[in-house]
Symmetry: C2
Subunit: 422 residues, 2 copies
């Protein structure tokens, strides 16, 4: 019911998985392992060498080989390539000098939140439910969080109300954390109109949006919606990149890209940049140049567009989603009218509404009796609004396991409903 910590959830799920090794997990939100073979050691070495050759030509080093084994620039070395990838893949036009390379996107959150909310009365707004790591980074950085009221269909109205409520108690909404495309955990995508409204409200209230976009490139159907950063004219969006879903989580490479100005003020943006770099230098000094070089090599090899590169994974995820939705329709629709689920056009997650409470005891119950592990939505929530909801991941499960997993889950749901009726 109350908000969980990342480690508590992971520990709990690992324990359940260890205890029920035959259970199929629809809980893990990681990318597929299927493409590990593509990035075998020889391929990784090649990517490193590609970047090394590029750096030898373009960077002005006195030695023949660039010093990729050394300490490096705090803000990173592949900023230009990441900026180009943002332009090509996401229509976000940026100078490389506004791209801060981080040790994964999680570090970007850990850097930005305290910098945007330095005072005890400053608050970051979060959706309810939301990605656990955002609340965790806020907590570790001493930043207070405030869940956006769920009462409106328009998120922009919720943001405005939250800002009002905070102001009434002497606090200020300074930042907003958002996954606008194929949200974790809900899978929702905000349409163009919603994005425009959110941008307008945040520009007016001077709330900086931390736009986290790990799933945006994984769209399976429907028209693309531009990231907030591509639509931002007021200077209120910090765009958070990650290569964990597009390349590999073990790279631990992310980026925070600042807007050209902060609400029209260029020097405020420059001051924020300095703060982020300073903070990065005392958290992790700099990001590994070895893994930066591998990411850089892949960007060079792919003309800075990762869209062709991710196509095999995208096809696998689309097929998994289709299989899951088909099986949900076949197995769950007949059980009850009060069972609903989302039909996401991208991302990794389906959100399933069930007519009973589902918490950690039920995870164990479901694993024990039906050999399926699923994620209670309440793990991501600030209140009891998500208690009758489950997150189903289709990204990291074997395609042939989806049908039996959903069939088993349906049996579990049916038995719970029967039990309640009895």
């Amino acid at each position: 019911m109350s908000f969980s910590t990342q480690t508590a959830v992971m520990t709990f799920l690992n324990e359940v998985a260890d205890k029920y090794p035959s259970a199929i997990s629809l809980a893990a939100g990681r990318p597929t392992d299927q493409f590990a073979a593509t990035l075998n050691p020889a391929a990784l070495l090649k990517l490193f060498s590609v970047y090394e050759s590029f750096a030898s030509c373009t960077h002005h080093t006195t030695d023949k080989r660039p010093l990729l084994l050394q300490y490096g620039r705090t803000a990173g070395i592949i900023n230009d390539l990441v900026a180009e990838q943002l332009r090509v893949d996401d229509d976000i036009i940026v100078d490389p000098e506004r791209v801060l390379i981080t040790a994964g996107c999680q570090e970007a959150l850990a850097l930005c939140l305290p910098a945007l909310c330095p005072s005890p009365t400053d608050v970051v707004l979060l959706r309810n439910p939301t990605y656990i790591g955002a609340a965790g980074a806020a907590h570790a950085g001493g930043v207070n969080v405030y869940p956006i009221p769920n009462m409106f269909s328009e998120l922009a109205e919720g943001i405005e109300l939250a800002a009002d409520q905070l102001r009434a108690t002497g606090r200020q909404a300074r930042a907003l954390y958002l996954i606008p495309s194929f949200d974790n955990p809900t899978g929702e995508v905000l349409d163009q109109a919603q994005r425009s409204n959110i941008l307008a409200v945040c520009a007016r209230l001077q709330i900086v949006i931390l736009e986290d976009n790990p799933y945006g490139m994984f769209r399976y159907d429907g028209a693309a919606v531009k990231p907030l950063a591509a639509l931002d004219e007021a200077g209120c969006v910090i765009y958070l990149s990650t290569f964990s879903k597009t390349i590999a989580p073990a790279m631990r490479i992310g980026a925070a890209t600042l807007p050209k100005t902060l609400f029209g003020d260029k020097s405020a943006r420059q001051a924020l940049w300095q703060q982020l770099v300073q903070r990065k230098s005392v958290l992790t000094l700099n990001t590994s140049q070895l893994t930066q070089a591998m990411v850089g090599g892949l960007l060079l090899e792919s003309n800075c567009s990762l869209r062709p590169w991710i196509q095999p994974a995208l096809n696998l995820y689309r097929n998994n989603r289709d299989a899951m939705l088909r099986q949900l329709q076949t197995e769950l629709a007949p059980i009850s009218d009060s069972i609903h689920w989302t039909r996401p056009s991208g991302g990794f997650f389906v959100s399933l509404d069930i007519p009973f409470k589902f918490d950690s005891r039920d995870v164990v119950d479901c694993a024990t009796n039906c050999d399926v592990i699923v994620m209670p939505m309440s793990f991501f929530a600030f209140d009891d609004s998500q208690d009758q909801r489950v997150r189903l991941s289709f990204s990291a499960v074997e395609p042939q396991q989806i049908c039996p997993a959903i069939t088993s889950l349906a049996q579990y749901v049916a038995s719970r409903i029967q039990h309640r009726a009895a």
Copy 2:
């Protein structure tokens, strides 16, 4: 005069180096570039594969290849190998479950300081001068710092006085940051008796020692002194490892190893471990399994002792130190009786006392007129006690550049003394 920030110092030194490209730098404290060729891409690939094979045999994965491209365990995967290296190389006996792998040693500091000093009245003690990044990590984590009074020859007495002074103002010394072997910036090494005294004082006052030991393996002559962690019986030492000097900075692999108990209390140590893991999960999620695998591969290949591996670098540093000390004797001794310098038995640094103030303007002056860049000791200091002192690094300079650099520095020092006398 006042304490500098890491980025401010690096930015300043880079600017000076860019402006005076012909100047020889004795300012950089990084390891030598000479051994980059040993860790060429093919060698890195081999290390990765060595670890991958090891992990395939020992870890229970269902797949043929371990999932080194995925997210990983928050506390790391090479804990057992690092524990064994601590035993073999440093006489520190630990269980792998007390070894937390971090994104470089800097992250270990950023994790430990706030965990040890949670209250606003909790304070970390630092030497004066000390490594800039320790004060920076404290600041970023909202932890107050207190420099240990310099008035005693015995550090233990200074620690006790600092704890008294803090107690008198309602504050508590909770942690002590220390580089006991070949300190950065002073190059000093604490002998066995001093270590025992410090351990006794800290055990009695329940002050946790963060023992940072980046240079300990680089001893050029004299008998080895055991790390505090190897002498600790009270449970007051957290040992900070880094592979930046022994393997390569770009690995960004460090470790924090907790004592068996925290002042005799095992559950307190376990609670601290949980806090550190939780905090790591929201700062950087986990440490790159790619670079962990490379470090792990090297540890496997070297039977978990890095001493033979570092021998070529150690020989180079010893020769550099000898060349620097010879040239200081030849060039600086004749100038004035009030010039003194240390004769370090290890590490990267010589500390030079000069009879005039030396600050950032003097760095520029010295670079302009004498083509040498050196580091004011005041950059690392909390007061003006280090104003007439300079840190000379011999780790990252070409051997043949040491003599001309010291000769030029002697000319600069002589001209400053003459100018003052005139």
